[in-house]
């Protein structure tokens, strides 16, 4: 971005918004928009509290479990769908429906079936993340260079070696793109799941703050969740860029 011929850092656009936010907050137009500085101050007060750290650790655990499941199931299913035509045909339509479906609508049913607890949140995270991972893995494997597979067979590769040494690595850029999108959706999953359940983790805090009209704390929490999602997705993106570099000649 350039302004008056000078290069300015990307985060400058954030600064502009924060200043605007501060000004609007100070005019006291609405009680739901406290000034930005007071939101930051509220954030600094809530972070060291025990309630906050308990909520975060519950949320992080559900997120990590759900994501781990999504990766462990999503990647192999994607590979199978690409390699076995029948499985691809049977599951293909379902994956495509679920990847675009509003999974949030299913959470109340999950609550009824699984119960009101951590497991429901884990399953929500899983459902939010898994389909895009399956889809991208499938595309990556399908687009894998066939002549590399032929080469490996020619040099005596066994079946499992074709998967581990050729197909998986070939598809890694697409798989990581799927993982990045999955992580972003997973964060949504944990928040939505906990919001709907309303007695767990970060969702409980959101409920607490909004019901007691603690807008400063509420916005502070929103910012923290946004930042978490951004940092996690950037971390995967970093990995992705490294892989893309080596896959440069595909």
């Amino acid at each position: 971005m350039t302004l008056f011929g000078k290069r300015i850092p990307i985060f400058f656009s954030l600064v502009v918004w924060f200043v605007l936010w501060e000004i609007i907050g100070r005019t006291e137009l609405s009680t739901i928009t406290p000034p930005f500085s007071r939101v930051i101050a509220a954030g600094i007060t809530i972070i060291p509290t025990q309630k906050f750290s308990v909520a975060v650790s519950i949320s992080l655990r559900s997120f990590a479990l759900g994501m781990a499941l999504a990766l462990l199931i999503g990647i192999p299913v994607g590979i199978l769908m690409a390699r076995v035509a029948t499985i691809g045909k049977i599951l293909g339509m379902w994956v495509n429906i679920f990847v675009s479906a509003p999974i949030s609508a299913l959470v109340p049913i999950l609550m009824a079936v699984i119960g009101i607890g951590d497991t429901t949140v884990v399953v929500t995270v899983f459902l939010f993340a898994v389909f895009v991972i399956i889809l991208d893995t499938q595309i990556g494997i399908k687009q894998a260079d066939r002549s590399l597979v032929e080469m490996a067979r020619c040099f005596g590769a066994k079946r499992h070696q074709v998967y581990t040494k050729i197909l998986f690595l070939s598809a890694l850029p697409e798989i990581l793109a799927g993982v990045r999108l999955g992580v972003i959706r997973g964060v949504k999953g944990v928040v939505i799941g906990q919001l709907l359940i309303a007695i767990l983790g970060v969702g409980e805090l959101f409920e607490l703050y909004s019901q007691h009209f603690l807008m400063e704390e509420f916005w502070a929490l929103v910012l923290i969740v946004f930042m978490f999602a951004f940092v996690v997705s950037e971390a995967v993106a970093l990995l992705e860029r490294r892989v893309e570099y080596y896959a440069g000649s595909r």
Partner: protein, 254 residues
Amino acid sequence: MSADAIVEVNQVGKIYDGGVEALTNVSVALPHGRLSTLLGPSGCGKTTLLKIIAGLIPPSRGEVWVKGNKVDGPGPERAFVFQDFALLPWANVLRNVAFGLELRGLPKEERHQIARKHIAEVGLKTFESSYPHQLSGGMRQRVGLARALAIDADIILMDEPFSSVDEQTRRKFQEELLDLLRHKKKTVIFVTHSIEEAAYLSDQIVLLSARPGTISKIIQPSIDREGRSPDEIRRDKNYLDAVDEIWQILKHYV
């Protein structure tokens, strides 16, 4: 069949799914320690025949025998050099060349030592840690050749290895290939669509007809290459005769 044939193709036919007949009734013996070329008009099934010999494609009819064993898949006595190089983009030159040995489960030190030797032979000593996208087409194909040599196969199958390489690199590469292969006494089966390349390199040229491909003629040019420069070979009467003879046959199919 002649006694010194290392590869025998016996009445091979190939019909692809969808009914395209690529090859019909191909029988040919490929002599040990020699360079044989499969040459023919485009679409004549020469690459199909090479891949059947490699064990990558099963024939619809007939069979292929390599060193007295019937082919039913790829084997360690056959190595393949691909038209599109087929290098692992995420692996450096050293790992690419050692890949065949890696698949065989050789320890890292050992396979790298072998790979280094062959990388030096194809003239890429200073590029061991480069990645394929950092190399030119000619250099990539040298990596492909080194990888084939590294597994120490008796037979090297080459599928139009120089077709994605520019003309100057190609000539230099051909000369080096001749040197290297004579020296190592490998059997080479080479697919090309270039008449000059076939005549220049080959001990035996197998001419295929247009699709469905079948043996049209087998030519064995008696070009004396011993101690002669490439330019002398290219002016040799037998070389020029072979080029002319091939063209007289091929022009009917074009």
